[in-house]
Point group: C2
Chain length 117, copies 2
């Protein structure tokens, strides 16, 4: 359910956070769902425990998951509204790819725009 590309230039923790984020936006993760335990996720992805925790803590800082010792990481209600962006994100991605833009360039444009709001 969560993928990582060891050959990608992006940091592993960022890739994992992005994968979870996208799963929520796509509706594959819903509020109340529990993420795999950090050690379990680390083992299944073949990365270090701290790398997974770094990703999980980024997601918590965003409010997408709720984490507590002994309980694990649970998806919050923030995942609902997130899913409402799905079609809009898909439409922009298609337009931009159609112009030959790279995923990085598209992301850069959107990030700059969001920063200015």
């Amino acid at each position: 359910m969560f993928r990582i590309d060891p050959l990608s230039e992006a940091p592993l923790f960022a890739q994992l956070a992005a994968s979870v984020r996208t799963a929520a936006a796509a509706g594959r993760l819903r509020p109340g769902d529990r993420l795999p335990a950090a050690r379990e996720m680390a083992a299944s992805l073949g990365v270090n425990l701290h790398t997974v925790l770094h990703a999980y803590q980024d997601l918590r800082a965003e409010g997408l998951v709720d984490m507590r010792r002994g309980r694990g990481a649970v998806v919050t209600d923030a995942a609902g509204p997130l899913a409402s962006l799905h079609s809009e994100i898909l439409a922009l991605s298609r337009s931009a790819r159609g112009l030959g833009l790279s995923p990085d360039a598209i992301a850069s444009l959107v990030k700059e725009a969001a920063l200015e709001l």
Copy 2:
């Protein structure tokens, strides 16, 4: 016209490339316009020449600028189509910020979506 935030976690060269990219999408840079000479841009931003060149060469790899020794960096025709994305990018950014998403989270979602196309 081009801004950089020394306190941001993002690499300086990436920030500069993003700034130029956004200027093109916003129509503030048009095909045929010339970017400031690398040494001049470096002096005005307070960064090293190589940092600016790194950004410029990323933009050339994307096809957004054309670079030659002695002539400088000139914006290509690719800037035209890019501007057509402007309103769509702005609309998505507003929707996402309205949901409380950070610029990084929004960019991550869009990048993932673009990667899967």
